[in-house]
């Protein structure tokens, strides 16, 4: 069931009685007493308040589109169509478009295949290890993309990748057989990371669909493959569609893998194209064509979102989610168990363990070398000892501030948005829902780019936002609202309005009702959402790279800057420290979500709609 459907159903339930109850927390007017002036309702006031962040989201998108019509993309530039002429006439831009399409396609194929296969294995076979794999997959989502990218470069770079070098030595090859720094390689590495997200979304969906349909098919003589193809996959089609769209958005937004694996090989995709335009290695910054490009992307994203939401609406035919928690009989693996183990073991080995070990190894060396007796002589802790600790601690300080402030603001805004969307009867409440969803659909690079220009040109003096922590917090929070609202929408739908109405009938004010009834019931959702967003904030490279300054340097940016200046060992060391700093929050997150099946971003997807992939909107 999607959020929209769930919300609609909730509304129907309320109106189904024939009587129209007052909005939550508001006592019905006493008979015989008529008010001359209608006082604004609590949700009305809230709707007015969240109009500000909603307008900010829309304004940032309008600004980018507007800059596309200005000379050099400068707000004070002359009005022109040249940027669009250049955009469509520039072969480099078309190359970027083609690269982006290939990159996203490969990402999708890898992520959907691996993620869905793992989810099916865990949820529909007797493989076991459900909780362990679920936890490992959540952890996999949290590993920063640039960490994996570095690991894979150290493994499979055509000339310095350890595996390639060994293969060349053993088989006398003149060049490494695998080139991970290609477009296909980049998509593969991105897909590996996103497969964990697909897994969480699909397995969450698999847990929710009624397994009796599959059992009925089996009872009718259908084999496992036929059941999978004809029954299971169509049932989870909406969540796979959602996962596909989210992985696509994330792939388009993310900067880490395109920067680390693509930039030095001259492979540009949309995000790195935008990065290079704002951080040129030659000439001056050119915002016009990137803005025009972004404008086109915004239109595509909005169109895509509308199509997606419509598809979800029409997906009612797949609506077989029940509250019974009915588990289907699991397919016995039998003699294929070894293959399943090989698949799961191989996935974690190549996706996380080996890249991790290679980053650890490289962090101990002055420059990249394959593991060997000769290289062992160069092993030392110099990269850690010689780290510029002022720099690292500065990064840590900003990271900690961001991890506290951005998710907190995002949670508060999301709660307000969701309350208005789910609880109010305002005519335009779905517009709010769509606006909150936009950062999910539009690449976060565009929001960051737009906010940077806005802050640069239109804030000055005491209210200057350019390069400040405030703008980072606000933009990150606005982007995270996409995830937050999906979570809170789902949470609020599950809290029946009877509880709030009972409180209101007992004379509690709106605020008292929210404080004493709604918020305590939403606390687990809020805590979960906050922790998840905090972790995603830590690993985000996209927004801090485009919007940050030397005063708002984060650990992820510090690591990227070191990598970009050839200090690969030091960069590896910072990345590992980042993982170390992440540990307490991860522990807290895992402990908190222990026993909550479907821990991860898919938890919201189960309750309705696109929550599962909301990590995309947070720059995952």
């Amino acid at each position: 069931m999607t959020n929209t459907q769930a919300i609609q159903e909730n509304q129907d339930t309320r109106t189904g009685t024939g009587a129209t109850p007052p909005p939550a927390g508001q006592a019905p007017p006493a008979p015989g007493r008529r008010r001359r002036r209608r006082r604004p309702t609590a949700t009305g006031v809230l709707a007015a308040l969240i109009a500000v962040p909603a307008l900010c989201v829309v304004a940032l998108l309008i600004l980018v589109t507007y800059l596309g019509f200005r000379e050099n993309g400068s707000p004070d530039g002359a009005l022109t169509f040249d940027n669009y002429t250049s955009l469509f006439g520039d072969s480099q831009v078309w190359e970027v478009v083609l690269n982006t399409l290939i990159y996203v396609a490969v990402t999708q194929v890898v992520a959907l295949l691996l993620g869905t296969a793992l989810a099916l294995l865990v949820e529909r076979t007797d493989f076991g290890w459900e909780r362990t794999i679920n936890t490992a997959m959540v952890l996999r989502i949290l590993i920063p993309g640039f960490f994996t990218a570095m690991g894979w470069i150290f493994l499979f770079h055509p000339r310095v990748g350890a595996v390639n070098q060994w293969l060349m030595e053993w088989f006398g090859l003149s060049e490494g057989p695998v080139n991970i720094t290609s477009l296909i390689g980049m998509g593969f590495v991105e897909g590996l990371g996103l497969s964990a997200l697909v897994f969480v979304m699909v397995s969450s969906s698999l847990r929710s669909v009624d397994g009796s349909l599959e059992e009925a098919a089996r009872a009718s003589g259908a084999g496992p493959w036929r059941v999978l193809r004809r029954v299971t996959l169509p049932l989870i089609y909406p969540s796979m569609l959602g996962a596909g769209i989210f992985t696509a958005t994330i792939a388009i937004s993310s900067l880490d893998i395109p920067l680390i694996m693509g930039l030095s090989n001259g492979i540009h995709v949309f995000s790195s194209y935008l990065y290079v335009a704002t951080n040129p290695s030659v000439g001056v910054t050119e915002y016009g064509v990137p803005a025009a490009f972004s404008g086109v992307m915004i239109l595509l994203a909005i169109g895509f979102s509308l199509w997606y939401l419509r598809t979800l609406k029409s997906a009612r035919k797949y609506q077989v989610v029940t509250g019974k928690g009915y588990r289907p009989a699991r397919v016995p693996l039998g003699r294929w168990r070894w293959a399943a183990w090989l698949f799961v073991g191989g996935y974690f080995l190549w996706s996380a363990v080996l890249p991790f070990l290679m980053v650890v190894w490289t962090s101990l060396l002055p420059y990249v070398q394959k593991p060997s007796a000769e290289a062992l002589e160069h092993v030392s802790f110099d990269n850690y000892r010689d780290l510029d600790w002022d720099y690292v601690l500065r990064g840590l300080e900003t990271t900690v501030k961001l991890m506290v402030l951005a998710p907190t603001l995002a949670v508060l805004l999301s709660l307000a948005f969701s309350y208005v969307v789910v609880r109010s009867r305002l005519r335009f409440r779905y517009l709010y829902d769509f606006t909150a969803f936009l950062p999910q659909a539009v690449p976060s690079t565009i929001f960051a780019f737009s906010a940077m220009i806005a802050a640069l040109y239109w804030t000055d003096g005491w209210y200057s936002l350019y390069g400040t922590l405030a703008i980072l917090v606000v933009v990150m929070a606005l982007i995270q609202v996409a995830f937050g609202t999906r979570m809170f929408n789902a949470g609020l739908v599950q809290i029946h309005t009877e509880l709030e109405e009972a409180a209101a009938m007992s004379g509690a004010s709106t605020w008292a009702t929210v404080r004493r009834v709604t918020l305590p019931l939403l606390r687990p959702v809020a805590t979960y959402t906050w922790l998840w967003l905090a972790l995603l904030t830590l690993r985000d490279l996209t927004v801090p790279t485009l919007l940050g300054s030397q005063d708002t340097l984060t650990l992820s940016v510090a690591s990227w800057m070191l990598y970009n200046t050839g200090q690969v060992g030091a960069s590896s060391a910072v990345t590992l420290l980042m993982i170390l700093f992440m540990t307490p929050v991860v522990v807290l997150f895992l402990v908190f979500t222990r026993g909550r099946s479907g821990a991860g971003p898919g938890a919201g997807a189960r309750a309705g709609g696109p929550a599962g992939g909301a990590a995309g909107g947070t720059g995952l």
Binding site: G467, Q550, N564, T565, V591
Partner: protein
């Protein structure tokens, strides 16, 4: 419920404590290290020298007072030696008895920093760095865009005489000798090219910079000439591209060489750590390229930045600079880079001197169209 939540906090607290302990241990270690490096024998002599300069220079004393008043210095600068800028700043503070709140961000993307500065100037925002570091072309671009402030360097620092650009927009910091930087385990001594033409004959994986560093200089009449460099780049096929500071990628063997590297000193810095790197200066493609410092027109701490820039070209700072960067300013007395240049010249190498004036005198080599054309020839094969 309560007990369980205690468990939550116990796990989280233990993990946090471990993390913080490791960070603090490492951080403390670093502090003591930097303390050692900044102290030592250089401190007193640097301070003495600074005091002597201050004694009969009221303008300089005023600048020190103004810097102290500003109380901070923020630099987006990329030097290459380990802790290079840190120790220089420490020595600078010690020399003038300052206690500035210094923010150093090791950003080596000079073109990016310059573009950002110009953008900030155009938008009327404060600059993100208090001093711009760049090659003559970038510094001149920033000056022409009005993003740099004209400074009477000699008035506050007489020892900078002859080091400033003609329009007083910038002060030269050090000189680099670009060349063919190679991995000594992948390219043997007899394979090392002697001329630019020899590079075309090599079959090893040679990289270049994505911004065609120094190739435009080869377009000067005294080198290949404009058409000559075009032909050369049509024939030169790099295996990949990376920035001048990423010589680890040659050290690791990812590429056998970088042509043209921005300076042999950059390879020397990495070689100091044990990397198998060397730089050959090719006789028909030799140049000396200067790095300049300029003070942004909208700098937030211009006095501190000006004071720091002028201090960096004092003999004692230049000595420290050479220890870190293996390069110094050839115009400052006792320069070791000047000595190296003299040795190359004795071997018959003729250098093109690429300074601020050179960029002004050769607009044909520095216009956007020509550079874009060269980048296209280099990167599109």
């Amino acid at each position: 419920m309560r007990r369980r939540s205690h468990h939550h906090w116990r796990y989280a607290t233990a993990a946090t404590a471990a993390t913080v302990a490791i960070a603090l241990t490492a951080g403390c270690g670093s502090d003591s290290d930097s303390g050692n490096s900044s102290g030592g024998d250089d401190g007193p002599s640097a301070a003495d020298a600074a005091q002597q300069r201050l004694a009969d220079n009221p303008a300089l004393a005023d600048l020190v007072a103004a810097a102290e008043e500003e109380g901070a210095l923020s630099l987006n600068w990329g030097l290459h030696g380990q802790g290079g800028l840190d120790s220089l700043v420490d020595a600078f503070q010690e020399a003038y008895g300052l206690d500035l709140d210094v923010t150093l961000t090791p950003d080596q993307n000079m073109p990016g920093n310059t573009a950002k500065l110009i953008q900030e100037h155009n938008a009327g925002s404060p600059s993100s760095t208090d001093a711009l570091l760049g090659n003559p072309e970038l510094i001149r671009n920033a000056a022409q865009a009005g993003a740099l402030a004209e400074t009477d360097w000699a008035a506050v620092a007489p020892w900078t005489e002859g080091l400033a650009s003609g329009d007083n927009m910038a002060l030269s910091l050090l000189d680099q000798i670009p060349g063919f930087t190679y991995n000594t385990t992948l390219i043997s001594e007899d394979e090392v090219p002697r001329t630019a033409a020899d590079v075309l004959e090599m079959d090893q994986a040679i990289a270049s910079t994505p911004y065609a560093a120094q190739f435009n200089v080869l377009g000067a009449d005294e080198a290949m000439g404009v058409d000559g460099v075009r032909d050369y780049l049509r024939a030169f096929e790099p295996e990949g591209y990376f920035g001048c500071g990423e010589l680890n990628r040659v050290a690791s063997g990812e590429f056998a060489a970088l042509w043209i590297s921005c300076g042999k000193n950059l390879a020397d810095v990495v070689a100091e750590e044990g990397a198998p790197l060397e730089t050959a200066v090719l006789a028909d493609a030799a140049s000396v390229s200067s790095w300049y410092m300029g003070i942004p027109e909208n700098a937030q701490h211009p006095a501190a930045a000006t004071l720091f820039a002028t201090w960096l070209v004092t003999p004692e700072a230049q000595e420290l600079l050479y220890e870190q960067e293996f390069a110094d300013n050839r115009l400052v007395e006792g320069s070791r880079t000047a000595q190296e240049i003299a040795e190359y010249e004795a071997d018959g190498v003729n250098f093109t001197e690429v300074d601020y004036q050179f960029t002004a005198d050769h607009p044909e080599l520095y216009n956007t169209e020509f550079k874009d054309e060269l980048i296209g020839l280099l990167t599109t094969k």
